[in-house]
Symmetry: C2
Subunit: 198 residues, 2 copies
Amino acid sequence: MRYLSETVERAINELAKLPGIGRKSAQRLVFYLLRIPKEKVLILTKTLNELKENVRFCSICYNITESDPCPICTGSNRDGKVICVVEEANDILAIEKTNQYNGKYHVLGGALSPLDGIGPDELRIKPLLQRLHGDIQEIILAINPNAEGEATALYLAKLIKPTGIKITRIARGIPVGTDIEFADEITLANAIEGRTNL
Amino acid sequence: MRYLSETVERAINELAKLPGIGRKSAQRLVFYLLRIPKEKVLILTKTLNELKENVRFCSICYNITESDPCPICTGSNRDGKVICVVEEANDILAIEKTNQYNGKYHVLGGALSPLDGIGPDELRIKPLLQRLHGDIQEIILAINPNAEGEATALYLAKLIKPTGIKITRIARGIPVGTDIEFADEITLANAIEGRTNL
């Protein structure tokens, strides 16, 4: 039988389409939205609409931005000789939070994954290669340390090598706060391989 | 420094206000919304706005509904002699899914919790008592088996007893698929206390 309103059912279905939100969470969200004042829901939906209205991808680095090129690409205080290659725009956010990097970025839009139909043409690799002229001195690969990331890093390294530009990769190792005892073998092997002088 | 657009920041903040969604999940949702076509986001926001527009509480049982009274209260196929008292409207959904109940409902809007400032006046107890006339034969308490639920059930039982209407409570016991070994003591005690004849 139909015991919920059709609108509620529809709202649950729409929310359940979002990543990380199952039907149970969607249901809980809908009941929450029904409880709070209408104005608060309107603010939420207006903000989400504006998100699609105002935000685009930077035509140089493919970061998300409201002005094109993005503030990092146009930033006079940013070192244009270094490009940090990341998979997604949210990786930029994580790196910026460290305050350890002052160069530019390039967002690939994912990692190579032939099984999922993601080949080099699906990623923004060509636009990256087009940026490798002039004064670029280093490409830092900040790509996720998993099988797809590994393949992508090797592929990019092969393409970039001939240009003579230095290619580096962020260190893989034991995260801070973890016990060596509990680290998986591959991480531990990476940490040993990447050991540094004291 | 500001590395994300102000709109993105605002969208993350708004989504992070929702229950069960932290800043990281909100960020992931925003990046997801940025990737999908604008039309899909518009469908989502339109549905959420309609939720507040179309859906209200039933004036009899306080279930959520698009028509007042709700389809369960007006349903001629529902047994009006039994009222199942639940804490929230989503409990109705769970009970309806069992196909085991064909009576009416009453949504309390929570459980007694003096520490959180939720006393009898904050719940829809008075409207429940006003419904206890005429042909009502049984009140089933389907209230959560925790401290607040326990207190609420006892409070309601005391109020309803004088009317002479039969009061029952859904069984507490070992859930299907669980090992007795792993059940907590209170649940096990409830299950033993509530044992049935074979």
